[in-house]
C-alpha cells in the first residue's frame, strides 16, 4: 500500500498555511497571535500523518483549518487536487463527504439531546444522503463497525462511557465514507486502557477502509503506534517531518530530540538521557526572530537569531528546519559510546543548570 501511495498525488497538500488571531483591547488591535505560521505538508491517500508538539503549538488550530472550521489567514489547502482554502459552504458540500473530523472531548462532541442513531445519521441527513436500505440500517452498520451494539440506536450519549462515546464520534465521522479524517487528540481524554482500544480501532479502520489520517496528539507513544509519518510542531511551525522510524530513531532537530527524551522509560531509571529544556515556550504574540526554538536550544548560535531555517531535506524523506541538525541515532546503546552523545550529555548539564 505504501509503495502505491508514494506514486500517488497527495490527497491533501498544505502550503504556507497560517492562522493569526487578532488581539483586541477595545476597538484597537493591539497584537496578533500567530497560532499557526506557515505550515507545509502533504498527506497521501491511505497515509497516517501524526502531528505532535506541546500544548499551544498550533496543532488543534491546524486541524480545524484542515476541515475548514477556521478560516486560514494565509496559505493554501488543496484536497484531491482542488483548492479548498476559501471554498464556501456549497462548494465544500462534495468535499465534506471526503473530509471529516474526530474531536478530542467525547463529552462535548455529542449533542446530549440527540439519540446515538440521530448523532451518527446527522452527516447523512444534512447532506441529504439516503443510503440503500435506509438510514437506520446504515447507522446500525456503522455502530457495529466501531464495535458498538446496534441496539443502542435509541440511547442517549450520557448512557455511555468515554470510550464508547468516542466510538460514536468515530462512527459519525465514518458515516460519509471519508477519505481523510482529522483526529484531534482522539484519545487524550480517555483512560489509558481505553486509549489502546480506541487507537487499535482507528488503526483497523484505517487499514480496512484505506483511510488517510491527520492524527493530532501530544502522546508520542500513541503516535508511534499509529502513524506512518510524523510532523513535529513548535510554536506554529513544523520543525521536522519524516517517516516514523526516522523521526523516532534518527531525529535531526534538537527540539525533536528533547521531546523524545521526555518519554518516560521504565527500563532506564533516572534522568540519564533526559534533555531538559529551560524556560517556557515563547508567546506566539511575539515569536523569536530567526529560528523559533533558539531561545531554548542548547546549540543556538548567532545565525539562528538572524536567519530562519527552512524545512529542508538532507537526503531521504525526512526534512528538518534547523541550521545545525543532529546526525546520530537516538538510543541508549549509542549514547554512552558515540562522541555526539557525550556532547549531548554535557549540553544537558548546561541546559538544566
Amino acid at each position: 500500500m505504501s509503495a502505491q501511495a508514494d506514486t500517488d498525488e497527495p490527497l491533501l497538500r498544505v502550503r504556507g498555511l497560517a492562522k493569526h488571531f487578532p488581539v483586541r483591547s477595545g476597538l484597537r488591535r493591539t497584537g496578533l497571535v500567530k497560532a499557526v505560521d506557515g505550515l507545509d505538508f502533504d498527506v497521501r491517500p491511505g497515509e497516517t500523518l501524526g502531528l505532535v508538539g506541546e500544548s499551544g503549538c498550533g496543532k488543534t488550530t491546524t486541524g480545524r483549518m484542515l476541515v475548514r472550521l477556521l478560516e486560514p489567514t494565509a496559505g493554501s489547502i488543496e484536497f484531491a487536487g482542488r483548492d479548498i482554502t476559501h471554498a464556501g459552504r456549497r462548494e465544500l458540500r462534495s468535499l465534506r463527504q471526503d473530509l471529516q473530523i474526530i474531536f478530542q472531548d467525547p463529552y462535548a462532541s455529542l449533542n446530549p439531546r440527540h439519540t446515538v442513531g440521530r448523532i451518527v445519521a446527522m452527516p447523512l441527513q444534512v447532506n441529504g444522503i439516503i443510503p440503500p436500505g435506509g438510514v437506520k440500517k446504515r447507522v446500525q452498520e456503522l455502530l457495529e463497525l466501531v464495535g458498538l451494539n446496534p441496539e443502542h440506536y435509541n440511547r442517549y450519549p450520557h448512557e455511555f462511557s468515554g470510550g464508547q462515546r468516542q466510538r460514536i464520534g468515530i462512527a459519525r465521522a465514518l458515516a460519509l465514507r471519508p477519505k481523510l479524517i482529522v483526529a484531534d487528540e482522539p484519545v487524550s481524554a480517555l483512560d489509558v486502557s481505553i486509549q489502546a482500544q480506541v487507537v487499535n480501532l482507528l488503526r483497523d479502520l484505517q487499514r480496512d477502509l484505506d483511510l488517510a489520517f491527520v492524527f493530532i496528539a501530544h502522546d508520542l507513544a500513541v503516535v508511534r503506534h499509529f502513524c506512518q509519518r510524523v510532523a513535529v510542531m513548535y510554536l506554529g511551525k513544523v520543525v521536522e517531518i519524516g517517516d516514523r522510524d526516522d523521526i523516532y530513531e534518527r531525529p535531526q532537530h534538537p527540539y525533536t530530540r528533547a521531546l523524545l527524551s521526555a518519554i518516560p522509560d521504565v527500563t532506564q531509571l533516572g534522568a540519564a538521557g533526559r534533555i531538559r529544556l529551560s524556560g517556557d515556550v515563547p508567546t506566539p504574540l511575539d515569536p523569536p526572530s530567526g529560528c523559533r526554538f533558539r531561545t531554548r536550544c542548547w546549540k543556538a548560535q548567532e545565525r539562528c537569531a538572524t536567519e530562519e531555517p527552512a524545512l529542508v531535506s538532507r537526503g531521504g524523506d525526512q526534512a528538518t528546519a534547523c541550521h545545525f541538525p543532529e546526525t546520530g541515532p537516538v538510543g541508549d546503546d549509542a549514547r554512552p559510546a558515540g562522541p555526539e552523545a557525550t556532547g549531548a550529555g554535557t549540553t544537558v548539564e548546561e541546559v538544566s543548570r
Partner: protein
C-alpha cells in the same frame, strides 16, 4: 451507498468475533415514545394534563355548554336580585338554574360567563404566548448563534423594548389603534379587540424570551457537537433548530408556562382599565377584577373565578415542569 468490500470484511470480522449465534433483536424505544411513557408514568403530569384538557374542552365547547345549560352569557336576571343589587338566596344566589350564582348588580349568570371567559382568556393568553415564544426563540437563537452585527441589532432592539413601560404604551396604543380602523362611536368587533391585545402582548413579550434563549445559545455555541455538525456541512437551519434548539427546550417551556398565566392577568388588567375587551365580551380577567369589590358582601362571586384561575395557572406550571422533565434524557423518571 453500499458496503465496500473492505468494510464488509471488517463487519464480518466483528460479527464472527463478537456475537455469533446471538439472536439480534433490535429493540429500544424512540425518543417520542420515551417522552410519552414518561409523561404517562408521572402522576403530576397526568393530573395537570387532564385539568388543562378539561379547560380547553370547556373553552372550545362553550356554545355547546350554553345550549345544554340554557342561559346565555349576557342574559340579565334582575328579578333574582334584591333592591341593593345583591343576588337573592344563599351563597350568591346558587340554585339549580344558576349553578355558580349571579353577578351582583347586573344579575348575569356566573357559570356561563366563566365558561365564555375561559374561552376568551385562553385564546388571548395562549395565542400571545405562542407567538411571543416563537418570535423570541427565533430572534434569540439567531442573535446567539450568529453573533456580530445581527446580535448587536437584536440585542439593541431587545433593550429598547424592555425599557419601554408596557402599561403606558398599551394605554396609548390600543385606543389609537382602534380609532385608526373604526370611528369613535362604532362598536369595535371582538375579533379586532382580541387581535389588538395579542399584538400588544407580543410586541413586548418576545424580548424576555429572546434574551433568555440568546444567553443559552451563546453558552452552547462553542461546544464541539456544534462544530461537528458544521464540519459535516450542516446549514444554518439545521444548526439552529436541530442541534441547538433541543438543548434549550427546558428554559423555553418554563418561560412559556409562566407567560400564559401572566397574560391572563394582563388581559384582565387592560380590560379593567378600559383598553382591553369591550364590556359585553365575557372575560375571565375582568370578572375577577369586578368581583374583588364584592369580596365582603358576596364572597361566592370571588370564589368561583378565583378557584378556577388558580387551578388553570397551577395546571399550566405543573404540566410545563413535567414536560421539561420528560424531555430531559438524563432525568431518571
Amino acid at each position: 451507498m453500499s458496503l465496500s468490500p473492505a468494510e464488509g470484511t471488517a463487519l464480518a470480522e466483528i460479527e464472527s468475533g463478537g456475537a455469533d449465534g446471538e439472536q439480534k433483536t433490535l429493540v429500544g424505544r424512540s425518543p417520542g415514545q420515551l417522552v410519552r411513557s414518561r409523561l404517562r408514568g408521572d402522576r403530576t403530569a397526568l393530573v395537570s394534563g387532564v385539568v388543562l384538557v378539561f379547560f380547553v374542552l370547556l373553552a372550545v365547547g362553550a356554545p355547546l355548554v350554553q345550549r345544554l345549560y340554557g342561559v346565555s352569557p349576557n342574559e340579565q336576571f334582575g328579578d333574582l336580585l334584591d333592591s341593593t343589587g345583591m343576588p337573592l338566596g344563599y351563597v350568591g344566589g346558587i340554585s339549580g338554574d344558576h349553578w355558580f350564582g349571579l353577578e351582583p348588580g347586573l344579575g348575569r349568570d356566573i357559570f356561563i360567563r366563566m365558561i365564555f371567559g375561559i374561552r376568551t382568556s385562553l385564546l388571548i393568553a395562549l395565542g400571545a404566548a405562542l407567538i411571543t415564544t416563537a418570535i423570541g426563540v427565533v430572534l434569540g437563537i439567531l442573535a446567539g448563534y450568529l453573533g456580530g452585527v445581527v446580535d448587536a441589532v437584536i440585542s439593541w432592539i431587545t433593550d429598547v423594548a424592555l425599557a419601554m413601560p408596557f402599561l403606558i404604551f398599551a394605554l396609548a396604543v390600543v385606543p389609537t389603534f382602534s380609532l385608526r380602523f373604526y370611528g369613535p362611536r362604532d362598536e369595535v368587533p371582538t375579533w379586532f379587540a382580541v387581535t389588538t391585545l395579542i399584538v400588544v402582548f407580543t410586541a413586548f413579550g418576545w424580548t424576555s424570551t429572546a434574551r433568555l434563549v440568546r444567553g443559552q445559545v451563546v453558552s452552547l455555541r462553542e461546544r464541539e457537537f456544534v462544530e461537528a455538525a458544521k464540519a459535516s456541512g450542516a446549514g444554518l437551519a439545521h444548526m439552529l433548530f436541530r442541534q441547538l434548539l433541543p438543548n434549550i427546550w427546558a428554559p423555553i417551556l418554563v418561560s412559556f408556562s409562566l407567560l400564559v398565566p401572566s397574560y391572563v392577568t394582563s388581559e384582565a388588567a387592560l380590560s379593567f382599565l378600559g383598553v382591553g375587551l369591550p364590556e359585553s365580551v365575557p372575560s375571565f380577567g375582568r370578572m375577577i377584577y369586578r368581583s374583588i369589590d364584592y369580596l365582603q358582601t358576596d364572597p361566592a362571586y370571588v370564589f368561583f373565578p378565583g378557584i378556577t384561575i388558580f387551578a388553570l395557572v397551577l395546571a399550566f406550571n405543573l404540566f410545563g415542569d413535567a414536560l421539561r422533565d420528560a424531555l430531559d434524557p438524563k432525568s431518571s423518571r
